[in-house]
Amino acid sequence: MDSRIIVITSGKGGVGKTTATSNLSVALARSGYKVVAVDGDIGLRNLDAAMGLENRIVYNFIDVLEGNCRLNQALVRDKRVDNLFLLPAAQTRTKDAVSAEQMDELCGLLRQDFDFVLIDSPAGIESGFKNAASGADEAIVIATPEVSSVRDADRIIGLLENMRKSPIRLVVNRIRPNMVREGEMLDVNDVLDILAIGLVGIVPEDDSVVKSSNRGEPLTFSDSSPAALAFKRIAARITGEDVPFPKLEDDSDRGFLSGLRRLFGIKV
């Protein structure tokens, strides 16, 4: 298949770009594709920690661009799953260390060897984002169902459209069905109504995301957590599979007492 380069971006910080990049990379690799996850956040890298590979970094992609090493010396192979690699960013440099043209050149190199190149974009709309998006063909925009996140996502989508990225698709992250039902949180349709792009995934709020991030074990290594299942479905949709969107469960059903009630077969 032709290589696909996807930038994962959001505008707003802290909405789940790095989490999405790490989990989708693992899910795609476990489906048999050769995948590289590129950390586009120079100076504030986190993808290495999210993937649990921080201790194995020797070189980064700026070293590659500056000719200090070959590309395969900078790539960190994930030993837990075949065909998954990380290309880390430099932590000791800043975003002006690289140009859009250099990122295009890097993407050109990666395109030759990988089925999927997932680029974790930094937050914001300035040069960091522009460089991360420059070499990409398509984009996934992460937004949480909050007014500020949706507004920032709208801004980013406008910029991506001007850069002629296609397709640009949406992941609604950290949704809490209970709050949506009570009218305290935007629902997915509200977000889609404003952003007007295709939806590729809905990820529920899930405590296991924090635990997995701290451990450096992307959720999609296991099958059980709701967020893990959501990311796996997104990965399948990215590859072209027609995967239906499941009904979101009420998240009030996940506390200790609710668990006890379920154990004894008592309905709420």
Binding site: D154, R155, I157
Partner: protein, 237 residues
């Protein structure tokens, strides 16, 4: 390239195109206005311009051209290519530059380029019909339109988008952004299919006390300034 048939009859100067956006030539009192479609990529646009030849090109060289960039976001590198590969190489005399993208206008003005319609046409327009800009799109957060005349937006205007017009502003869909109608003064109005803007500007007046508690919030309204007061009329069909 499509041309206004009132002014140019010979279609043989332009290459055939199968669908897709086209450069449009309009004959005007001040010269040839070249409308450059914003949804054409920079490379494709330059390639198309380089094919501009024949009688139309000779006419344009003789009387001058106005380059209408529509909503295209102009950056330095494309501007330099446009100048060097088309304007200077083709020996075209550019009378002015037009755009409704506020960032592009700012870039052109700060770089010393004349913007808007050439002045003789501008004088005529004060007594003639309004100059309406019709946009068949929605405006996203951060997008800004500036226009000398009326603006008709056949889409939604998201929060964080801005429209500044010397005339009226009509938004077919949901209006959540900031609109300034009548920015040089005068009696103008703002109309929206679904009004949800927290602030609006009419003439020299600013209203920032708008909110969902108002009975016309979310409804189809026309808003004007009468005797220094905001007058809101609900539009019902």
């Amino acid at each position: 390239m499509a041309e206004n048939m009132d002014s140019l009859e010979d279609r043989n100067n332009f290459p055939e195109r199968d669908g897709g956006p086209e450069i449009i030539l309009k004959g005007t009192g001040y010269g040839v206005r070249m409308i450059l479609p914003e949804d054409m990529s920079d490379d494709a646009l330059l390639e198309e311009l380089l094919h501009f030849s024949g009688d139309a090109a000779r006419l344009a060289r003789g009387i001058g051209v106005v380059l209408d960039l529509q909503g295209r976001i102009l950056d330095r590198s494309f501007m330099l290519r446009l100048l060097s590969e088309f304007v200077w190489t083709g020996a075209f005399r550019v009378l002015s530059w037009m755009s409704y993208n506020a960032d592009t206008l700012e870039f052109l003005r700060s770089s010393g380029f004349l913007t808007g319609e050439p002045s003789s046409e501008r004088v005529e327009r004060k007594t003639g019909a309004s100059n309406s800009l019709v946009l068949m799109q929605s405006l996203r957060s951060g997008q800004r339109v500036e226009h000398d005349g009326d603006v008709v937006l056949l889409g939604h205007m998201n929060e964080g988008a801005e429209i500044c017009a010397t005339g009226n502003v009509f938004v077919r869909g949901r209006l959540k952004g900031v609109v300034h109608a009548g920015m040089h003064g005068g009696q103008f109005c703002i109309s929206a299919g679904q009004f949800e803007a927290r602030q609006l500007r009419l003439g020299g007046k600013l209203c920032s006390t708008l909110g969902s508690e108002m009975e016309w919030w979310g409804k189809s309204v026309m808003i004007s300034l009468e005797n220094d007061s905001l007058v809101v009329r609900e539009l019902k069909l």
